[in-house]
């Protein structure tokens, strides 16, 4: 089967299942007795196993298979979840994630998972040494123990675990026939595994092997002693089965005994089972279709995941769309917006009523359309946030700390491209909070704080921005320590440092090559610092800031634009040049008379709502050739804001509000002072977009 076309679906779904399992594991840690959680995990593991086997990712399939075995024991109450069980399952999840990532990167998803598989098997064995094996695809469960020849002589009860027995019982009750088959291969047989395979093959045509002892894997690997025992479901008569097995050469003997409900009830000893061998097959009604026998045992197990899937599908009816297609849609749409603006200005010139009407209608339709396109690109930050509980747990554990991660606003939506990029920076910030922010348990107790530290991860909308905050209740940032380190690392001089505000000092944490960790722990000191966080956020058009109170904790705040492609802007004119100022940073516009402007230390200032704010001359700052605001009696001013700081920008003329499509200036001009990008106006001209944040010091 060509599975390539399903690959992206496989990847998406695997990730969903892995995430679900991670979440469930964390939930299970808090509520170890909740079997419902284990059920969910089991379903995820099972689905993942099936998917990966179909796609040919054998290592993933075999690992999930072992996980499934462990989970199955847990959900049946046969295994108590211990710490090492958690660790092993977490390890398995990590390994699975790595394998899925490998597939994403174009790899084959192969990985040596034998040690984890061994661990998982050991968990299964340790509790249930006699748990046998199963044939892949059948109803069987706990894989793992090489049953050995000893098991071959045991009763049916010994062969099957409770679950399998109950499945078998059900099939018997619904009129199917079950047999216990022992096969002995001649001692002089050279390739006994091959003979065994031929037996399986012959049986496969008549029904379904639901159990074999030793396991099929062991038999295939020649790890058995000329004899094996099978539990077999079939519509055929015992004699027919026997004949089929004897059709294989080099078979010493094959005994086929019907399994009765009494065998399964457990009252019978193995002797009774032997006795039953001679009796005829129980009067089971003939089955309409031979396949029904195989379908029946599979049903109870396949039913659950299928039902879960159906329920999920009903809750959110979605389709997956390639993000590239969305990007193309977005680009095409931006082109159309440019044309719309062009049409609007043409209609304004031509002044024909029906043309204006049509253009207006088109404007309304396209802004609705824009809303839809934008929404298509929006996704909740949840998809990023949901991996953090696990990460924080691991980091805290490895550092011997107790940390609660409290997530709020996970449903906050952000542009897909931003969501994709924001993960790594947040990982850094959260690790930083847990590693450097939260104190050790002893320190916390000494400081009169609860043993468990709390890290809040919040996301919320504010205006045209999304804020993401990571706040901890740890020891806070020590200004002196940071400064000392910064001076030592040559980032600032001592004099510069002394003059800095606390916040500016905290921002030194984001300078490249900076680390305050006295001891390089497992978590930090891997050569990746907060400077990477800062540059990443800034490349997304966002900002990072830090506030902190010594002894109380620190807060890292990231401000991000909602979207990266279309914004509302105020168009302004400076002589012959046009600039766009994003509406998100504008407070209001006003006209300032010459006499309202004051000079303070050579800087022009004016009164704005009972505070004195600086007036920035854009024409002077940008060396505009054909305009200067200096001589004007009345100056148009755009009041802009950066955080709580405000400034006025003196412009020549306000053109009006307009939707603009953000275009990059290109790599060659990627960092131009106070310019965040460009846009193409209706007349085809390029206008620069001001980065007002750079204008407010």
């Amino acid at each position: 089967m060509d599975t390539n076309q399903y690959l992206s679906m496989f990847i998406d779904e695997s990730r969903e299942h892995l995430q679900a399992m991670n979440d469930n594991m964390l939930a299970l840690e808090n509520a170890p007795d909740d079997i419902g959680i284990v059920q969910n995990m089991f379903r995820s593991a099972h689905t993942l196993k099936g998917m990966s086997a179909t796609m040919g990712f054998e290592d993933i399939a075999s690992l999930t298979h072992e996980m499934e075995n462990v989970l199955d024991l847990v959900r049946n109450g046969k295994l108590k979840v211990e710490d090492y069980t958690f660790e092993t399952i977490f390890q398995s999840l990590d390994a699975l994630e790595a394998m899925v990532s490998d597939i994403v990167d174009g790899g084959t998803g192969k990985s040596d998972v034998s040690s984890i598989v061994t661990d998982l098997k050991a968990i299964v064995n340790g509790t249930y040494g006699k748990a046998g094996n199963r044939k892949a695809g059948a109803a069987g469960q706990s894989d793992g123990t090489p049953g050995g020849a000893a098991a071959a002589g045991g009763s049916v009860r010994d062969l099957l675990d409770e679950y399998q027995s109950s499945v078998l019982q059900q099939s018997l009750e619904s009129g199917h026939r079950a047999y216990r088959i022992s096969v002995a291969i001649r001692k002089d047989c050279v390739l006994k595994a091959v003979r065994a395979y031929m037996v399986f093959d012959a049986l496969g045509r008549l029904g379904e092997v639901i159990k074999s002892a030793p396991s099929t894997e062991d038999i295939e690997a020649d790890r058995f002693d000329y004899e094996f025992t099978l539990v077999f479901l079939s519509a055929s008569e015992g004699a027919e089965i026997e004949a089929a097995i004897n059709g294989v050469s080099e078979i010493e003997r094959a005994t086929v005994q019907p399994i009765t409900a009494e065998d399964l009830a457990g009252a019978d000893s193995s002797a009774a089972a032997e006795a039953a061998a001679g009796t005829a097959a129980p009067e089971a009604p003939a089955m309409a279709q031979p396949q029904a026998a195989t379908a029946a045992p599979a049903a109870p197990r396949a039913g659950a995941p299928a039902a879960a899937k159906a329920a999920g599908a009903a809750a959110t009816r979605t389709i997956r769309v390639d993000i590239e297609k969305l990007d193309t849609l977005m680009n095409l749409f931006s082109e159309m917006l440019i044309d719309r603006v062009r049409l609007e200005s043409l209609a304004g010139e031509i002044k024909r009523a029906d043309l204006i009407e049509t253009v207006e209608h088109m404007g309304r339709v396209s802004s609705d359309l824009q809303g839809v396109v934008m929404k298509l690109r929006m996704m909740p930050v949840e998809s990023v946030f949901n991996r953090f509980p696990r990460m924080v747990r691991d980091v805290a554990k490895s550092l011997g700390k107790k940390v609660d991660l409290v997530i709020t606003g996970a449903d906050t939506e952000l542009d897909r491209t931003v969501v994709d990029e924001i993960g790594d920076p947040l990982v850094h910030l959260l690790r930083n909070s847990v590693d450097h922010g939260i104190e050790s348990i002893e320190e916390r107790v000494k400081a009169g704080k609860p043993e468990t530290g709390t890290v809040h991860l919040r996301a919320f909308h504010s205006g045209n921005h999304v804020f993401i905050e990571a706040e901890d209740d740890g020891k806070g940032i020590n200004r002196d320590v940071v400064l000392k380190r910064a001076v030592k690392n040559g980032i600032v001089t001592k004099e510069q440092g002394d003059a800095m505000s606390d916040e500016a000092v905290y921002m030194l944490l984001f300078a490249s090559g900076f680390s305050t960790a006295e001891v390089i722990s497992d978590i930090s000191g891997r050569g990746v610092g907060l400077d990477v966080v800062k540059s990443k956020i800034e490349s997304l058009g966002g900002r990072v800031s830090v506030t902190s109170t010594l002894g109380k904790g620190s807060k890292f705040s990231i401000q991000l634009p909602l979207t990266l492609s279309i914004i509302m802007a105020m168009m302004v004119k400076l002589g012959g040049e046009k600039y766009a100022i994003p509406l998100s940073s504008i407070v209001e516009t006003m006209i300032l008379r010459k006499e309202d402007i004051r000079n303070v230390h050579g800087n022009r200032m004016f009164d704005y709502r009972s505070s004195v704010v600086p007036l920035v001359s854009l024409s002077k700052l940008f060396d505009v050739p054909d305009y200067s605001d200096e001589g004007e009696d009345e100056t148009e001013v755009v009041i802009v804001r950066k955080g709580d700081r405000i400034a006025g920008l003196a412009v020549d003329e306000l053109i009006g509000q307009q939707e603009i499509v953000l275009k990059a200036l290109g790599k060659y001009l990627n960092r131009v002072f106070a310019v965040s990008g460009a846009t193409i106006l209706g007349d085809g001209q390029v206008a620069l977009i001001l980065d007002t944040n750079a204008l407010i010091k």
């Binding site: 040049e577 050739p625 060659y668 131009v672 002072f673 310019v675 193409i680 390029v686 206008a687 620069l688």
Partner: protein, 153 residues
């Protein structure tokens, strides 16, 4: 005998220059340009090249040569090197010719005032024609941009 490379020939002042055709996207007539403040003087601004904003630099000015006033013959040669896309203003775009790699010689230290690092070599074409082959990655070297970043501090 090394292979021939198709080369776009353009001129600045009296010199003729060459860029391999695979780096040249299009050759445009002069078009309205939007000045970008606080950029080096050789960055003339940005243009709208069919929906994409492309920076344009004056090649002569980039080499520290005197800038000629744009004329009817002036062209913008749109080049792309790696992920950089830039337009070069040149005095005229003349020709497309085959240049054999064997005929490219090491550049002399100074060619018409241009520093050698911008040059890949001098190609002899025909009997008496010298073509200055540009080293585009040096011409588009971002050290100038870094200087620019320092200007803002």
């Amino acid at each position: 005998m090394a292979a021939d490379t198709k080369t776009i020939v353009f001129s600045i002042g009296t010199e003729e220059y060459g860029i391999e055709v695979e780096h040249v996207k299009t050759i445009e007539r002069m078009m309205p340009m939007t000045r970008v403040p606080k950029t080096p003087p050789f960055v003339k601004g940005v243009v709208n090249l069919r929906g994409v904003v492309v920076p344009v630099i004056h090649l002569a000015s980039r080499f520290g040569l005197p800038e000629n006033e744009p004329t009817e013959n002036s062209r913008i040669v749109m080049v792309s090197v790696g992920d950089l896309e830039v337009g070069f203003i040149v005095d005229s775009a003349n020709d497309v010719i085959d240049v054999n790699a064997d005929r490219i010689e090491e550049p002399p230290e100074v060619v018409g005032g241009i520093r050698a690092k911008y040059l890949r070599g001098i190609a002899k074409v025909g009997e008496n024609r010298l073509l200055v082959m540009l080293n585009l990655s040096e011409v588009l070297n971002k050290s100038e941009i870094i200087q620019l970043e320092q200007m803002e501090d």
